[in-house]
Amino acid sequence: MALFQSLFGMLYQFGDTFAFLVIACAGLAVIFGMMGVINLAHGEFIMCGAYVTASLARVGVPLPMAVLAGALAAGFVGVIVERLVIRHLYHRPLDSIIATWGISLIATQGVLIFLGSTMQGVGTPLGSVDIGGRFYSIYRFVLMGAAVGLLGGLYLLFYHTRFGVIARATIQKPQMAHALGVNTGRMYGLTFGLGAALAGLAGGLYAPTMTMVPTMGATFIVESFVTVVVGGADIFVGAAPAVAILAFIKTGLTAWYGQLFGQIGLLVTVILVIRVLPGGLSGWLKGTTR
């Protein structure tokens, strides 16, 4: 029984970390992988999704609807931001880092000024379940399911829909796509919007488990970056294995040495991966399979 307990415990922790990394990084990965833009306002899109979700849930909107609305709201903001700012910076990736940092400053402080320093959250739904003498939050299992669904959904979207194919074509050969009559500007806008919406979804999904403050996005951002870098430029090939490896490293280190080493382990992994595999996991996987 004790063996089952600790085995299941490990598995649960792994799944929990896996879900967090997938959900946190999806939006950043789409924007970085598809457009080469490092979005430092990623955390603020997450905060936007969380705030909208929590506000709606507290006036009685069912949580799934509220989460969806949070994602849509963040996506909508994303489309506007792309049109006003990001669009002018595609050829200047370093400048887009600065611009998104500026957006992040404005968003965090703006929310603090207009909505106050904190907001009442929504409670975690669904209660808990007793497995082998330990209690586990059922909502955490929902998050794991959502992570797997998210990976599958993104795969289907980008490989089996017209939008996905055109989007990938646009990103790989913009001039060619343009010549073929694709409205490349709109594709970029939609892709950025999708990335922002995924960030909003992350905020919505985690809103019931976290403290609602304007800086809440910051707790996601380091982990998101780590995952994207380890995954490499092609997120569809690299993200899932990257998340699996990182979740394994983090779970292991946290379980045996505590939270600090879980954190440091992640960051050291990034540095090592970049040194050994400059193209990230996806670059390495593609290099060996071609």
């Binding site: 106050g116 939050s137 809440m216």
Partner: protein
């Protein structure tokens, strides 16, 4: 929303230059105003807990001015927003002392910010009030600490919890000075009372996911959990622990009283939480009720009046008393008053007195219990709990001023 805007606008006006409303009363003595610098975080990470401190100081200043000022001189506040950034504390501490030439400074939320400005206060021989509960140990004659310290909060809380729930204790603490030192106090007091530490875990600042920690706690068979976690991200623990049905009583010296988590989180995630604090707005005494009423009279949409707000308010009146007794704002004269050992104030939190050896305060410590619906009850109140550790360890500011911070593991050098 419009209310909020207008009060923000008013704050903006006040923060910039001298406070107009403080100057509104005309009949003051010749000496000119007594200037008090206010360096608090009105934006950034800590704003949630510190905006109210600024309001408390403004409230006290208004009351004092309405009643004729300090020794007939009006109080003038010089307020800067330090943005939760240690560097701003350094810049603005220098500014208030050197350029604005204030007579005293009320400054700082995090211990890091206090340590950032302390060398500057020492260099210019300023007088700074630190109005937070903190890890304790600052022995510096330029500092007056009005917040509670671990020995006051844990020597009351831990034995009570052990008697009520059992001897097995699990501590989770933020992995920095406050958490480490507080955890050390908990450990020591648990052992002194014949209890048993079944687990102790330190959480890096900024961590928001507690899956592993919750599992460890469930596995440890603790009777109660001491939560010494800090910051918005770490506060996510409560929601996650409730969702996983940890179901253990909790004890803390920092949550509720400072970040009013019981107001922000949905019930019952903080149910069965016990906190020792020297003040929270639910305290049911006439003095406290009057204080809350006055506060809301001036700041109608104040979210929560926490212990730091009360401490800041008390500190203003303490300073008033010291200046009036000393007959000047001169620091040596003020220290002479402190050395008399009877600087006390009967305020919203009950009677508090300033200890001349450490320049920390004795407090009435309230044990607050969070109910299932997040309402607060007070199962126990201890009166006149003294900040004994520094004095016992050998800090005596009436004799010498080491300007250092000590910890139980590195106490003052033996005389």
């Amino acid at each position: 929303m419009t209310d909020r805007h207008s009060s923000l606008f008013a704050k903006g006006l006040m923060a910039g230059a001298a406070m107009a409303l403080a100057l509104a009363c005309p009949a003051f003595a010749q000496d000119g105003p007594i200037k008090i610098g206010v360096l608090e975080d009105q934006s950034g990470d800590f704003a949630a807990a510190t905006m109210v401190k600024v309001h408390a100081i403004q409230l006290a200043a208004k009351e004092i001015n309405d009643a004729g000022g300090i020794d007939g001189r009006p109080v003038e506040l010089v307020v800067y927003d330090t943005q939760s950034d240690n560097r701003r504390f350094q810049e603005f501490m220098r500014r208030v002392l050197q350029s604005d030439k204030v007579d005293a400074v009320f400054a700082g939320f995090s211990s890091a910010s206090r340590e950032a400005y302390r060398p500057i206060v020492n260099q210019f021989d300023g007088l700074a009030f630190y109005n937070n509960q903190y890890e304790g140990g600052v022995c510096d004659s330029n500092m007056i600490v009005t917040g509670a310290v671990p020995e006051q909060q844990f020597s009351t809380l831990i034995p009570w919890m052990m008697e009520e729930y059992g001897p097995n204790v699990y501590t989770i603490a933020a992995d920095y000075n406050f958490g480490q030192i507080s955890a050390e106090w908990v450990r020591q007091i648990v052992e002194e009372n014949g209890g048993n530490m079944v687990g102790e875990e330190f959480i890096p600042l900024g961590v928001s996911q507690f899956g592993q920690t919750i599992q460890n706690i469930q596995a440890a068979d603790a009777d109660f959990v001491v939560t010494l976690i800090v910051g918005a991200a770490q506060a996510s623990y409560y929601e996650q622990a409730a969702a996983a049905n940890v179901g253990l009583p909790m004890a803390s010296s920092v949550n509720v009283g400072q970040g009013y988590e019981h107001k922000r989180f949905n019930p019952p995630s903080l149910a069965n939480m016990y906190v020792t604090t020297n003040y929270i707005e639910e305290i049911d005494t006439p003095a406290s009720k009057a204080f809350v009423e006055k506060f809301h009279g001036m700041f109608p949409d104040e979210t929560y009046i926490n212990q730091e707000a009360a401490n800041s308010y008390i500190a203003m009146y303490l300073y008033k008393q010291m200046v009036e007794r000393a007959g000047s704002t001169d620091h040596d004269a003020i220290r002479a008053v402190i050395a008399e050992g009877d600087v006390c104030f009967e305020g919203p939190s009950g009677n508090t007195c300033l200890d001349p050896q450490s320049q920390h305060m004795s407090h009435t410590i309230y044990l607050a219990k969070v109910g299932d619906d997040h309402s607060i009850t007070f199962p126990k109140v201890w009166e006149d709990i003294k900040p004994y550790w520094l004095g016992e360890a050998g800090c005596d500011l009436t004799k010498s001023d080491p300007s250092a911070q000590y910890t139980p593991s590195s106490p003052p050098p033996a005389q």
